[in-house]
Amino acid sequence: MPPTVSLSRNDWTLHRKGPIDQARHNERVKEAIKGNLGEIVSQESIITSDGKKIVKVPIRSLDLPRFRFDRGRKNHAGQGQGKSKVGDVLGQEAQGQGQGPGKGKQAGEQPGIDYYEAEITIDELAALLFEDLGLPFLKPKGKALVESEEVRFDQIRKSGVMSNLDKRRTIRENLMRNARQGRAGFGGLSNDDLRFKTWEHRIREESNAVVIAMRDVSGSMGEFEKYITRSFYFWMVRFLRTRYKQVQIVFITHHTEAKEVDEDTFFNLGESGGTKVSSAYQLALDIANERYPASEWNTYPFHFSDGDNWGEVDNQRCLDLVKALLGRSNAFGYGEIQEGGRRSPSTLMSAFHQIRDPHFIGVTITKKEDVYPALKSFFSTREELPKVAAR
């Protein structure tokens, strides 16, 4: 006896369990990106992207882990078209590509790690990154620059366009006028009762700020040091341009001599030679004094270097110049890059240790993942602490 069968077709349009769980998965991807910002920020593919395109960022740990065999160390079975022989190459392992220099644990070395590639635009990534960053110790200064114009729809007037008539207020005016004349109720609307919604232009004001970005391009700056500097300044410039429309950025490169350069040169320059950091600080101080008077500008000098300076004499000069700069700046940021934390302590950073000013922010970067924490420590919004009398 053949079994009974039936065929039917129903309306499935309201069924959407899959998309709901898919949305939850996407949420987890976002969370994972947020959790791995440190690793993602210093990805080479991002720094070298033109800024608009979608980047693929590898995310670990999105897969549910389980006890499983090490796939890279196992034999697997496959099937040929009839002529396969021992030694035939089936394909290349695709993982482990597109990793920047200085990355400790590459995907390719560890066959066990599965990377999930999430797609995200640089802007989305920037929004996540910059969520709680801001310029520290920002003060209102000088004559304010126009930051943005905004239109707010919150005014009421007696004349205006009919389409903007505020009916509620108009009726109320009518009722009140009738009441004044001893009549209760609505009626006899006159031009005098009409009320219109209208708008107002507002101008939001923002303080002036200038960031002086200094970059060490001397011979001692290796691939890693250059990479970190570029990575940091890439995000810094992006951050400043997104958040503060009126921030000016001055670019300075230096080896034994310092010079002001344009943005392109700043990011692409590779030179060699010795290092005299004081030259950059002197130039920064000169530019600041000349073009950005302290009374009108919030000033933020930043400097990235491997800390390998010409000698103790120049370190001392640097110290003096930093103090001078601090005297007229809101904060001074110094990032010292020491790959793997290997260097001797006789670097610029050790000279700066004597500075006790909270406006001096020093950060040591030893690996790629430190870029994001560095951004966070330089650009965490801080307020001036109330002055406490010395004990």
Binding site: R9, D21, R28, R66, F67, A77, V86, G112
Partner: protein, 469 residues
Amino acid sequence: MNPEEVRELETAIGLIVEIADGMGLDPYPVHFELVPATIMYEFGAYGLPGRFSHWTHGRAYQQIKTMYDYGLSKIYELVINTNPAYAFLLENNTVLQNKLVAAHVLAHVDFFKNNAYFEHTNRSMLETVSINAERLRRYEFEHGRDEVEKLLDAVLSIQEHIDNNPRLRHGAPDEPIHRRRLDPPSTPFDDMLRLGEAKREEVPEPRKFPAHPEKDLLLFLADHAPDLEPWQRDVIHIVRAEQLYFLPQMQTKIMNEGWASFWHARIMRELDLTESEYVQFAQLHSGVLSPSKRNVNPYYVGMKIFEDIERRWDEPTDDERTKLGRAGGEGRAKVFEVRQQDNDASFLRNYLTKELVEELDLYLYRLEGDKWVIVEKDWEVVRDTILNSMTNFGQPYIVVEDGDYRRGRELYLKHQHEGDDLDLDYADKTLKYLYQLWSRPVHIETIVDGKSTVLTYEGQRGRAEAVRR
């Protein structure tokens, strides 16, 4: 499909059922349902319609959907092992495609009904998973979505570790032991001072807990995890019950797909197809059966083995006639016997012959440097490696060795190493999930590069330590 095509399909299905019946297939009643692609992918992602929500299902859904949208792959059919069986057909397939799928499905249902490994399957699983999903929704309402998700993440990470032979389970369930210990000696001279006394009675060694190594991790956790709430134990039971349902399907993948392909080809040949329909059928058929460089295509290998069995029992060689007593002409009876008695492992062990391995051009490959290279073509090695990879469904065999490790209710697992090392990165992370469930330190003993090693997670961070012997 327009209504006219639906009617055509309906007629064809009636015919297909009759042909199948004439050939000896014996399926449950089948309800076919035409659904849009999105629904097909959803069911494919969840394994069963109406199953509980989890982001891993969402991810599977997204993957399947993307593959479809880019034209990379397509699910043609989905059949649910219940009585009556449910089969889903894509409504934008052609009539011919759906005819083939219907024939394929009937053979699947025949397999579900008659294969020994499906004997204990819950045949009303659709209702069960709906009830389970409803329970989980209630728990989400009572305890919060995040709590339930956190728990599910942990339970799903070990969901494969259940006992696939529940009927063979040993005796009474294990009771947590009552600890008994000798009074510790108070001075080094205790034994001398007691020289004259009568010898104290030997206290027997504390009974082991569990008495036998326990393969069913989920059951063990549900029964004995120290701090879980009743609802959390229930969630473990839900995951376990659903996993048990899927086990026989995992166990018979090659046979099941081979059986369905074997029969859909035969049934389709009986249908009165036009020339263009026949070309369509041939394209689809060869697409499904195309060999895969990196995997064993279960449709192809399974079908080839069934065809080979039929041939060898229909026309035995003289050797087989005299030595094995095969009379010949028994091919049909033999394939039905195999579909009833075997699972993938025994199927391959008994019927994947030297000639077949060569004809199918099966090989082994591995990662050498950054290239995947073919390393073995010897038929016995190839067959045995495929067989080994089926042991415990390709999952590491892990048992609970001690549920009261170090007398502190710590969990000590043992990986029964059979040649392949664990992925340590994943193992570390899985231990964290186990810790979350067990809420005491968890350990797993395994072998890494030939050395016995214990991975431990004690709440802060996992550390690997070598077992001292």
